[in-house]
């Protein structure tokens, strides 16, 4: 007997699917019910009942009509958060989703504020909005005016806009200033079960807390400012299971680089990724943020991890975490934020943690990565013509010979920082490798804390002294060389080992060449001058 599986989202949406092993059935509608063909190729169909919601008993009746037993199905974590934020859902239109927290920075917001002014609109919820300066800010001489007049104008524009519209802003020099995705979690504003958006694709970072967080464009920034909502098409869900114990020296960064290499830069397109499994559960919050941060590099707008004791412990001491009875209330809610055992993902992939190794990219997109112990790929050995052409072009840009060992590649610059790896744990890991050692004479190393608070914390632990003694530069907080909007850039032909997230052509400076690595590999590479892991020291 085929099994008709159905679920309930909010009383207005119901969905149906035949169990994958069964394949027959044609469900003919009652009035207001769209006919749905259930065939072997159609995994499921959404069935909008915006104006014609039917009861559970009716659904069971419908199942019987096609000779099926009806089974009510659980929801994935992403589906739960979606359902909890559904303001409006109508057939043939995107869902209207409520936004719990809107983060702003200077680059993607000025045109949105302008749009508000032009249409005489205002910010609906300044109390759910927060801004910081990060992309343009210098990491040296922060007590002086920003030297680049165009960067200064953008930062000044943010300051003026925040003042005019009553938005809380953490400016350069403030202890809470820093990369927007480091600031949200450190203030405790990022909490499980929230919807969080920002005009920055690495907003996916906040998914580490079990929130649905994603990057938006400037038109959407304006939309959220004006309405605190976004019209969105519901994404599909993908489970990424990483089980086992990570070998020594293998970090969250290596895990996500391996995932991206496996599914490709478009593999997560249209999906929310949920990272699961014992290797993910074992990660700290910092490690989980590193993983979720790079979901976008796999094409997924959002990635998330179910909250657990690690999450609650991290949050408890943060300024904006709930307290007293509200903490208890919040925690009771957070504990429901798991994918139900009987929920189903649209796609599922598996990785064995024990087989992972330190990972490094060799090309010009984040999926062009391999284990550090291996060789630069040989394009003629790549079967897919599109990938082959892309690999050949990437090697030309990167100035690399096909087939050489990755560990023979000499680098000029090490960048330790960014919203991917600029948190305290990342600095501690690199400092542990560098302690008592010197970086190679011909490399420069920039250490850029993710936020001013991370910088203060590192200094209180003496990490700055370790970096300085090793010959690295200890800088102020910001996005810095991750995208080189400020003076921290690679020169033409210069090669970096970078803990950031994108190895695109020219990303860190025109003509610059980027290898993405973990903080451990960055530190070891700084010492040896060639791509290395701590095991090589």
């Amino acid at each position: 007997m085929p099994q008709l599986i159905y679920g309930q989202w909010d009383g207005r949406f119901r969905w149906l699917r035949l169990a994958p092993t069964k394949n027959v059935g044609r469900l003919l509608g009652k009035p207001g019910f769209e006919p749905i063909c259930l065939g072997p190729l159609l995994r499921y169909s959404f069935c909008p009942y915006s104006d014609n919601a039917i009861s559970e008993s009716e659904m069971q009746q419908r199942a019987l009509e096609i000779g099926s037993e009806g089974i009510f199905m659980g929801k994935t974590l992403a589906e739960k958060i979606w359902a909890d934020h559904l303001v409006r859902s109508v057939s043939g239109e995107p869902d209207l989703i409520y936004v719990d927290l809107h983060l702003l920075h200077e680059v993607t917001s000025p045109q949105a504020f302008d749009g508000l002014r032009l249409s005489n609109r205002t910010i609906r919820r300044p109390d759910l909005t927060i801004a910081t300066e990060d992309h343009n800010t210098p990491t040296l001489n922060i007590d002086k005016p920003i030297a680049d007049p165009v960067s200064r104008l953008q930062v000044d524009t943010l300051r003026a806009n925040c003042k005019e519209f009553g938005v809380r802003l953490h400016s350069l020099g403030d202890a809470e200033q820093g990369i927007v995705h480091v600031v949200g979690p450190q203030l405790g504003l990022t909490q499980p079960g929230m919807t969080i958006v920002c005009g920055d694709s690495h907003t996916s970072t906040h998914g580490a807390f079990g929130s649905l967080a994603f990057g938006i464009g400037t038109s959407e920034v304006e939309h959220v400012l004006a309405t605190q909502t976004l019209p969105l098409v519901r994404p599909k869900t993908m489970a990424i299971n990483v089980d086992g114990i990570l070998p020594k020296g293998v970090t969250a960064k290596d895990v996500i680089l391996a995932i991206i290499a496996k599914i490709g830069t478009g593999g997560g397109q249209g999906f929310v990724l949920e990272y699961r499994g014992s290797a993910i559960k074992a990660l700290s919050m910092e490690g989980r943020m590193t993983i979720c941060n790079m979901s976008i590099e796999a094409g997924a707008r959002a990635g998330l991890i179910a909250p657990d004791q690690t999450t609650f412990d991290y949050l408890q001491s943060k300024p904006h975490a709930p307290t007293g009875s509200q903490w208890e209330e919040a925690r009771a809610y957070w504990e429901t934020l798991v994918s139900d055992p009987d929920s189903e993902f649209d796609e599922e992939i598996f990785l064995n943690a024990e087989e992972l190794a330190p990972f490094v990219t060799w090309g010009t997109n984040p999926a062009q990565g391999v284990p550090l112990n291996s060789h630069v790929p040989i394009p003629s050995e790549i079967s897919d013509p599109e990938e082959r052409a892309a690999a050949a072009r990437a090697l030309t840009y990167m100035g690399l010979e096909a087939g050489i060992p990755l560990k023979s590649i000499k680098v000029d610059t090490i960048f330790l920082g960014s919203c991917t790896n600029g948190r305290i744990e990342d600095l501690r890991a690199a400092a542990e490798v560098l302690e008592g050692k010197k970086i190679s004479g011909d490399v420069r190393m920039l250490v850029v804390p993710g936020s001013a608070r991370v910088r203060l914390q590192a200094e209180s632990e003496g990490l700055d002294q370790i970096f300085l003694a090793a010959g690295a530069e200890w800088r102020n907080a910001g996005c810095s060389m991750c995208l080189g909007m400020n003076p921290d850039q690679l020169a033409v032909g210069e090669r970096s080992a970078s803990t950031s997230n994108r190895n695109f052509e020219g990303r860190q400076g025109k003509g610059g060449r980027t290898h993405l690595v973990s903080p451990l590999v960055a530190a070891a590479t700084a010492i040896r001058g060639t791509l290395s892991s701590p095991a090589d020291l």
């Binding site: 993607t108 959407e220 478009g266 397109q269 300024p319 509200q326 052509e505 020219g506």
Partner: protein, 199 residues
């Protein structure tokens, strides 16, 4: 936003996959606080190469980009859409777009058309054979045609309607503000607020 019904123009065969938004407009060009003037940054690094396809005189007037798979990956910068529009492009065709880029395009009125990779290849060949050939992208009939080639494409009805009417999303949402207010009234108290600031 201007409405989009149909557009006819010459096309740029951009035979590259994974054209990320850092290539469409590098970060150093993102510092303007207006929505105009970004054309200078469009494909800035590639345009410094005289052999780059956009530098060829036969493609200099193109208004339709035909690109490889995974166009618009990476950064969420809507400046990438503005740069294409400021330069004069009206349509981008690819076999797959990054989600955020596609969303941004649809908000700003730049049409993104998804065709199968084989169809993209056929378009590339046809245009390279005769760069002056006119390509018509018709949103009404959901069709791309050039010479004897004619390909239908899919786009959801809602987005198509919005683009054809040139509608402002914010205005549409504000029509339902009562539902937003109702939703807000049920928002749990334990959820954080940014104001007042707590340290």
């Amino acid at each position: 936003m201007d409405s989009f019904i149909s557009h006819t123009g010459t096309a740029l065969p951009l035979r590259r996959s994974n054209v990320d938004t850092d290539q469409i407009i590098p970060a150093v060009y993102l510092k303007r606080v207006t929505k105009s003037g970004f054309e200078d940054g469009l494909f800035a690094a590639w345009r410094s190469d005289p052999d780059f396809v956009l530098n060829q005189p036969e493609y200099s007037q193109a208004t339709i980009v035909i690109a490889g798979v995974d166009f618009g990956t990476g950064s969420s910068r809507e400046h990438a859409v503005w740069a294409l529009q400021n330069y004069g492009f009206k349509v981008v065709i690819s076999s797959r777009f990054a989600d955020i880029f596609r969303g941004n395009s649809q908000k700003a009125g730049l049409l993104t058309v998804v065709l199968a990779q084989e169809q993209v290849e056929e378009l590339w060949s046809a245009i390279e054979e005769d760069p002056a050939s006119h390509v018509t992208v018709d949103l009404q009939s959901k069709n791309v045609s050039v010479k004897s080639l004619s390909f239908d494409f899919e786009i959801d009805d809602y987005t198509r309607w919005r683009l054809m009417e040139g509608l402002d999303d914010i205005g549409l949402t504000l029509n339902h503000i009562d539902q937003v207010i109702e939703f807000e009234s049920k928002r749990p108290d334990h959820k954080p607020k940014t104001l007042p600031a707590l340290k």
